[in-house]
């Protein structure tokens, strides 16, 4: 996929020629991808295609061997650490739900709120009405209001998924990276999640990784299919899902 240089500056997220290998195994190969501001992009691709690794690169968890990763057209993400990247406004939901297990659901959200994250700020923090209202709202959205005082560790797998989405909402980043949000959800919940993401997309740029094609279809956005660490196909869901190669390596017959 060739990306025009002039667009590179206007893109929210711009990956070009990214390579990563682990002990000789090439997980990402010459990956190039552009995400426009306000866009929602669904990423699909076989297991092990490098989707999660790509998110790792964007969020600074993994450093690419080579290639460019630009955020907002100017910031080179490869030079920054996770905290800085999060501060820039990139939020992430992990494939395996990771929440703060020994804290309550409510505190998990409180921690995620994008207010002053400095040591001083948190030390002298006093709750504000606006904050608690935000938390209430998020709790409602993720339907965990009743569980607000439960320890996150005692939630079921799916509930943790929701909580993580909630944390992402509370964090309110410019760019959301959502890794398999509906894994382990019922069809109804899947639908709700799709609605939620569409709602979020009105004000945010979103990148979703998912294997649930119904869900991807429901999102109705541009789809990129990765394979062996590189872009295999890009386009509408119909275009991509009718691509022979995609069917062969991913969808199956």
């Amino acid at each position: 996929m060739n990306v025009m240089d002039t667009r590179a500056t206007s893109a929210m997220l711009y990956l070009d020629g990214v390579h990563v290998s682990f002990d000789g195994f090439h997980a990402i190969n010459n990956l190039s991808l552009t995400l426009e501001p306000g866009e929602m992009r669904a990423i699909i691709g076989p297991n092990g295609a490098g989707k999660t690794t790509m998110m790792d690169i964007i969020t600074g968890k993994t450093k690419p061997d080579e290639g460019t990763v630009l955020f907002d057209g100017v910031t080179d993400l490869t030079r920054l650490d996770e905290t800085r990247i999060a501060e820039l406004g990139i939020g992430r939901k992990f494939q395996k739900p990771t929440v703060f297990e020994s804290q309550t659901v409510q505190d998990n959200l409180l921690l995620a709120l994008n207010v002053d994250h400095s040591v001083r700020g948190t030390l002298f923090w006093r709750g504000s009405k606006a904050e608690s209202e935000r938390i209430d709202k998020v709790l409602e959205t993720i339907r965990l209001t009743e569980a607000r005082n439960r320890l996150a560790g005692s939630l079921s797998h799916g509930q943790k998924q929701w909580l993580e989405i909630g944390m992402l909402l509370a964090q309110d980043p410019k760019l959301l990276l959502v890794d398999e949000p509906v894994a382990g959800m019922t069809d109804v919940e899947t639908h709700l999640t799709a609605e939620l993401l569409k709602e979020i997309n009105k004000t945010h740029t979103v990148m979703v990784v998912e294997h649930d094609m119904t869900f991807v279809r429901e999102l109705g956005v541009k789809v990129t299919c990765l394979h062996e660490g590189t872009v295999l196909a890009e386009g509408t869901i119909d275009q991509v899902s009718s691509n022979e190669r995609v069917i062969e390596v991913y969808l199956g017959r």
């Binding site: 682990f22 195994f25 699909i44 691709g45 076989p46 297991n47 092990g48 295609a49 999660t52 494939q95 395996k96 005692s154 939630l155 079921s156 797998h157 799916g158 509930q159 998924q161 929701w162 398999e180 894994a183 382990g184 959800m185 019922t186 069809d187 109804v188 919940e189 294997h211 094609m213 390596v249 991913y250 969808l251 199956g252 017959r253």
Partner: protein
Amino acid sequence: MLEVKDINLFYGAAQALRGVSISAEPGKVTCVLGRNGVGKTSLLRAMVGQYPISSGAIVFDGSDITGLKPYERARKGIGFVPQGREIFPLLTVEENLKTGFGPLKREDKHIPDDVFSLFPVLQSMLGRRGGDLSGGQQQQLAIGRALVMRPKLLLLDEPTEGIQPSIIKDIGRAISYLRNLGNIAIVLVEQYLDFACELGDSFAVMDRGAVKFTCDRSNLDASEISRQMAL
């Protein structure tokens, strides 16, 4: 083959299972369905003995296994594919598979060919550490690992979670292959209704720790199940 009778399970003060009964037959797939947090995983944990039940009985192969330790149950032939894969992260793929050798007789201590024909990706990754695999690859490994034990009862906890569509189909094929062998009883916990409906012989929908709806393949009504699940 397996008979779960009226079991209750508590996490501390919170009750996760309320009088659940369920059964599984060789050559049949029993599907357990339900929303998040209704107790599906808890039910499987009770069956494999990872968490003690407070009352009720679990009968397997004619004997009561309620009091047995998890490894004793496994040795009796209960294979388990847990939610979240629970791969041994630092063991290689091959070693992960070999952990299933424990209960086997000497002549059986090899990895059955089925495993590789069902999941060819494992063959190519034998030397890699389990923890390095991608989510979907780990899921395949987890199923493969359970098959190495030649189980009589296979418990699958949301095996399609995070799996690419073509492999979901493969897993579906694998499950029906196993079912068709006729000597393995399968309990499948799922939220992915289409998948469950395709494979299931009997269905149980759970809600708040209890089974609130059951049906058979014969009287299967997918929309009813879906309605039950959404409630």
